[in-house]
Symmetry: C2
Subunit: 363 residues, 2 copies
């Protein structure tokens, strides 16, 4: 089937670019002896999760228990939930997962650890724990201070938990560009202090897990990091290009769209709006546009309403109703999460369809 | 079941507020003899579509053919697709729908009308057409000028189409607030010119369809409008409150969330991010926040990452991990589209679950 036989809007995954991205990250990690545990929230597609494991990943990362269930059902046997899982029902589900796969959770409070410990004890299983420290993003993570080391000690003493080490998320470090004036040497001073405090308290940290996509290929520069959890690298997007950690030629996922209206002067409307592309602004830099139009850098995706993408086009663009355009979204992760399935393409040929089995798994 | 027995994050629909919103708009339209054809893109829930018809709607509106199919399957028999439907396959699907329900399309090009006409002729059915004019939003819609009247004349002459009139979308007029300095009198001058040109050309316009939620209750002030297509009014959201066309007490849909981390000073992290609430900024006014925290106007939802909502909280907030908070999203339409189902509540009691059957229907 030719891609022009597909109805639009539809997500296309370029098989060759995906493969290159998967291999590139696996090779980098292997050469630096860093474990790769990709965050599958980007794709939510079991087939890609299995490819990541085939290419040497230590296992995978997810954000939610329901995502872990989908990936476990697909045969992935080593999963870390990098999220402070809360609530009796979710703790029970975690313990159920621990009966069939190796599972761990990154959290930042004793309360969460106690809940998981109780559920694991009841089920007669062991759940891995990693303690999250905040190293600058100010999202989750304990501060690097004495009280936090005491929490680590108390978590280590809880029954049915397997202490695995520490987790950080340098989500504020953007590849070759840095935001908020934060750079790797500054980050390292925080890591060094954390390791000093853990050493002084006699707390081991066999795993130091970090890593986002924009800074992934600089992971060996972060002191002590021996595992990374990049997500977006499988597809890349306008954000990773903006952070100078990929080029548009590295973007494996595009949204194929059709021009449906050219009635308004200097405008073309495509059949992909915020319910197809997601409304995320760019993480840094240009805040005004909502995607990149492949082969048409002179078209600006200025606005998204729910089902309309508003392109500003030059006077002489000759764009017509029925024309097809491919869009690289600002942020591919929430975009994929809007679609029930994606089509894998090789050039202009559609080679298969993958279900986004983890779509909408918010629990 | 009590709402606290639900796992979070989850969308709650307050039955009483929904009912009041449905009745309020139906009563307004009845008293002004304006036909109500609600846009079901907001809820995508057949049960609500049927309620809207029960409460006197002339039929419903959708944006995509696949949404029309879902609503037709649910027993709704009069649907307008307010979208320039493009492509052989979609035109065939429209014609199939015309075999079992009354269906019409609003479009703004001869090309789209010709495609629908051909498909309708092949199937031996009739499809209604409404010609869209741009009255200031600069999205879809022909300009109010002579060439557009000629397009209307040519569409009227096409076989198997049922000429119904004109469609406009005052999406730039925001209730009691106006954006871009546009107000109703200015809009009316454009409508008057359009009607003059249609009259001069002898083109009838039995239906003049307009209307968005923020300006819905001013619809009788728009010259000639005899049908409106509000969507958001069923639930309302932070946008409609910001436009002063609703209050927070009129917001029927909230997202129930749980605080999962309070490790970072003056922050609380909730388990609802952009994959739960949608990342839309406010249409006007405050561009910085991503939702309203019910009962906690001093909490600011400053940022969303995919699965984390970042709340700035006062020093003395006493917010704890495990606390539950209800959020009114900026824009409820893309939020609902992220969820497979919603729970209908009466006070704190869960009374039923509705499937979002039209979720993800982008084709």
């Amino acid at each position: 089937m030719h891609i022009n036989d597909l109805e639009t809007p539809v997500v296309l995954i370029d098989q060759d670019i995906l493969d290159r991205n998967l291999r590139g990250m696996a090779d980098y990690c292997a050469s630096h002896r860093i474990a790769l545990r990709p965050h599958t929230k980007t794709h939510k597609i079991p087939e890609i999760g299995r490819l990541q494991v085939q290419y040497g990943s230590a296992g995978i990362t997810v954000a939610k228990v329901s995502e872990a269930e989908v990936m476990a059902d697909a045969g992935i046997s080593d999963i870390v939930v990098v999220y402070p899982v809360w609530g009796e029902s979710k703790w029970r589900r975690l313990a159920e997962l621990a009966k069939r796969i190796r599972i761990a959770v990154a959290m930042d409070s004793l309360l969460v650890a106690e809940g998981i410990s109780r559920a694991a004890k009841t089920a007669g299983v062991e759940v891995g724990v990693r303690l999250e420290f905040d190293t600058g993003l100010r999202r989750c993570g304990l501060p690097v201070e004495a009280a936090s080391i005491e929490i680590a000690r108390r978590i280590m003493a809880l029954p049915n938990l397997r202490w695995e080490g520490v987790s950080v998320y340098p989500g504020h470090i953007m590849g070759n560009r840095t935001t908020r004036g934060v750079d790797i040497p500054l980050e390292n001073s925080r890591y060094d202090r954390l390791f000093e405090m853990l050493d002084a308290a006699g707390i081991p940290y066999p795993i130091v897990s970090g890593g986002n996509t924009p800074a992934a290929y600089q992971s060996h520069l972060f002191h002590g990091i021996n595992e990374i959890r990049p997500g977006t690298y499988v597809f890349n997007d306008r954000n990773t290009v903006d952070a100078e950690s990929a080029s548009y030629a590295d973007c494996a996922a595009t949204v194929l769209t059709t021009v449906v209206s050219t009635s308004v002067s200097n405008r073309a409307i495509i059949d992909a709006g915020s319910k197809t592309l997601a409304a995320d602004r760019l993480g840094s830099g240009d805040k005004m546009h909502f995607g990149y139009v492949v082969d048409h850098p002179d078209f600006a995706l200025e606005a998204l309403t729910e089902e309309h993408g508003h392109l500003a086009v030059p006077e002489d663009s000759h764009v017509r109703v029925g024309d097809r355009l491919r869009i690289i979204p600002n942020h591919i992760c929430p975009c994929i999460n809007l679609h029930d399935s994606v089509y894998v393409v090789c050039g202009d040929r559609v080679v298969k369809r993958w279900k986004v089995a983890g779509r909408g798994m918010v629990i």
